[in-house]
């Protein structure tokens, strides 16, 4: 049955008010100076922050790859478990997400601190204290921890649809475990991988809370710089809008590149 087009009106209004109009405002702010006259100055001013932008993208890529490496086997194991175990494991995965994002990240601070839980435990066996926080590793850890479920859920929901008999057929035709993964499970999981990659990469590349709380001010990401332009002491919404715009274009470009790669992969395999 075809749904009447009028059902799309609420969503269209929503998108108009909260996506199209703000996007227009961002473009408008980015292309003007304080006096309201057109300029590209804000875009050129970005060059000062290229290293921060580069670091943001690098961290986000590393976090995405780690998430994928953890999530792929985890999702496969969940998808092959009995129905009861599957729902238990998925709920366990979701439980941390019911707790506030800030609280979860604070919890990592108290774990990783100089006199935090981990260092104190290590101290008991005569090790440490180690510098676990305020470095790039802690920021990436924060990203992986917070966004891992966004990788597992789409992967799991694709993998659970792979019929066990297809896996058995691959084994029957001579696939060992490695070939089974490479020639059957990986290509069949591609839709889940591309969804998961976007769901982890996009929030990772634009986060500012994680880097502020776990990065100790020495690992600022582009999200931190943008946030400062709006609520910090270097108030400049024009520059902030320009940065947001450039970041958005870069993300869109990378995603389309990735999707291209993803769909080609399907054909080759």
């Amino acid at each position: 049955m075809k749904a009447p087009k009028s059902l799309a009106i609420p969503y269209a209004v929503w998108v108009l008010i909260f996506t199209v109009v703000p996007l227009g405002l961002v473009v408008g702010f980015a292309m003007t100076d304080q006096d309201g006259s057109l300029t590209l100055e804000n875009i050129f001013a970005m060059s000062e922050y290229m290293s921060v932008l580069f670091r943001s993208i690098l961290f986000a890529i590393i976090a995405t790859v780690i998430c994928l490496l953890i999530a792929f086997p985890a999702s496969y194991i969940i998808s092959r478990a009995s129905a009861i175990n599957q729902s238990t494991l998925v709920v366990l995965l979701m439980v941390p997400m019911w707790i506030n994002f800030l609280l979860r990240t604070y919890a990592w601070m108290t774990l990783l601190e100089q006199n935090g839980l981990i260092n104190r435990l290590l101290g008991l066996i005569g090790l440490g204290p180690y510098n676990l926080i305020n470095n790039s590793g802690a920021v990436i850890l924060g990203m992986v921890y917070n966004y891992l479920p966004f990788m597992i859920l789409p992967l799991y929901s694709v993998m659970v649809k792979i019929d066990q008999s297809i896996i058995e057929a691959a084994q029957d035709l001579g696939s060992n475990k490695l070939r089974l993964v490479r020639k059957v499970i990986l290509p069949l999981s591609m839709p889940g991988i591309s969804t998961g990659v976007i769901a982890v990469f996009v929030p990772s590349v634009s986060t500012f809370i994680i880097s502020r709380m776990l990065g100790g001010g020495t690992n600022d990401l582009i999200g931190d710089i943008i946030e400062m332009q709006f609520s910090g002491n270097s108030y400049n919404p024009h520059l902030g809008s320009a940065m947001a715009l450039v970041l958005m274009i870069i993300v869109l470009f990378m995603m389309s590149l990735f999707n291209q790669f993803g769909s080609e992969e399907d054909v080759i395999l």
């Binding site: 019929d163 008999s165 297809i166 058995e168 057929a169 691959a170 084994q171 029957d172 035709l173 001579g174 696939s175 060992n176 070939r179 020639k183 059957v184 290509p187 069949l188 399907d266 395999l269």
Partner: protein, 348 residues
């Protein structure tokens, strides 16, 4: 000249503390079409999965050409499987589905092309190479699944109710084609089905199973003509199964009368099952019949009429090319050779 290619010895399979297979021993003879036949839950698919490497035995031995393959993973066994739900790879086209096993063996491209072509020829699917599997009907998908398994030139092909999802006409055609393939390729087929007619049509050897145990092994003729017990008789074709008493050798009493039969070696006055095929009962005028009954019901079945006749406390099923009016009184005769005497099954 008959070589045993697969030998299952005292196989026991347990699942959740329940015995699925209870001590099964079975020799599969090379180049034969062997059918595992039985109702659902009898253990026939489990037996097939043991041979394929997808089910584990709690105890027992599995020999392939005399060598144990019990602990060999599926991908190292010289058998291939045609799965019940076809299990084709949805991300690959038809050519790549069939080529899958050959690519794993890393064969040269021109050999792959040649062998895939041969297989498409064999299953009458030439010209479909580039098609996606989603564009095929169930029957066509099954042909591709058969080609994908046979392209690896297995010694033994395992088929798990491969025709179950097809309609009757297509199923009959495929039965004949499968039999032809098996004879042309000269390899062993082990075929699982619950359809007794399918088993009789295609097999060299039929293995009738029930409740995780083998009931009878034999040629289709053996199984049909000399069923070993009432279960086999009833499962293979329709049967009238009547309680009887063996009065002495060659004399059985059932339905209150004594009949001459050709069986001997039972205990005196042993309680037995008497099995009579519906087509072996002759309809005669009332005064000539050994048994007299009233026709209850007549159904036209195409080749014959199936009549239910009430006589001496039993509902007899008779297959006859002539029909009688419901309510009419008829006589029934049966020759001694058509009376089959069987020991009562232990669990009944």
């Amino acid at each position: 000249m008959e070589n045993t290619i697969i030998s299952l010895r005292n196989a026991v399979v347990e699942y959740d503390g329940e015995q699925i297979l209870k001590n099964i021993s079975l020799d599969i003879i090379d180049k034969q079409f062997v059918t595992l036949l039985g109702p659902s839950g009898c253990g026939k698919t489990t037996t097939l999965r043991i041979i394929g490497g997808f089910a584990e035995m709690a105890s027992g031995e599995l020999l392939f050409n005399g060598v144990s393959i019990k602990n060999l993973p599926p991908h190292k066994r010289q058998v291939n499987t045609v799965f019940q739900k076809y299990a084709l790879f949805p991300h690959l086209n038809i050519y790549e589905n069939i080529a899958f096993g050959l690519r794993i063996q890393k064969l040269p491209e021109d050999e792959i092309r040649e062998r895939v072509g041969e297989m498409l020829e064999l299953v009458n699917m030439r010209g479909y190479e580039k098609r996606s599997i989603h564009s095929l009907s169930g029957g066509q998908q099954q042909r591709i699944a058969i080609a994908r398994a046979l392209v690896n030139r297995p010694k033994v092909l395992l088929l798990d109710e491969p025709l179950g999802a097809l309609d009757l006409k297509l199923r009959k055609d495929m039965q004949i084609e499968l039999k032809r393939m098996q004879q042309d390729l000269e390899i062993t087929f082990i075929y699982v089905t619950h359809d007794q007619e399918e088993a009789l049509t295609m097999s060299d050897t039929v293995v009738v199973m029930r409740d995780g145990m083998i009931q009878q092994i034999g040629t289709p003729q053996d199984i049909y003509n000399e069923p070993i017990n009432a279960f086999v008789a009833d499962f293979i074709g329709e049967s009238n199964i009547i309680d009887g008493i063996m009065r002495r050798d060659f004399l059985v009493e059932f339905a209150g009368k004594e009949f001459v039969c050709v069986d001997k070696g039972f205990g005196k006055d042993e309680l037995v099952d008497v099995v009579i095929r519906p087509e072996d009962i002759k309809v005669v005028p009332q005064q000539e019949g050994a048994i007299v009954g009233v026709v209850q019901d007549v159904i036209f079945k195409g080749v014959h009429y199936e009549m239910t006749v009430d006589a001496l406390g039993y509902n007899w099923i008779i297959h006859s090319t002539r029909s009688e009016e419901p309510g009419s009184i008829i006589g029934m005769n049966v020759t001694p050779e058509d009376i089959h005497i069987m020991h009562k099954s232990e669990d009944e």
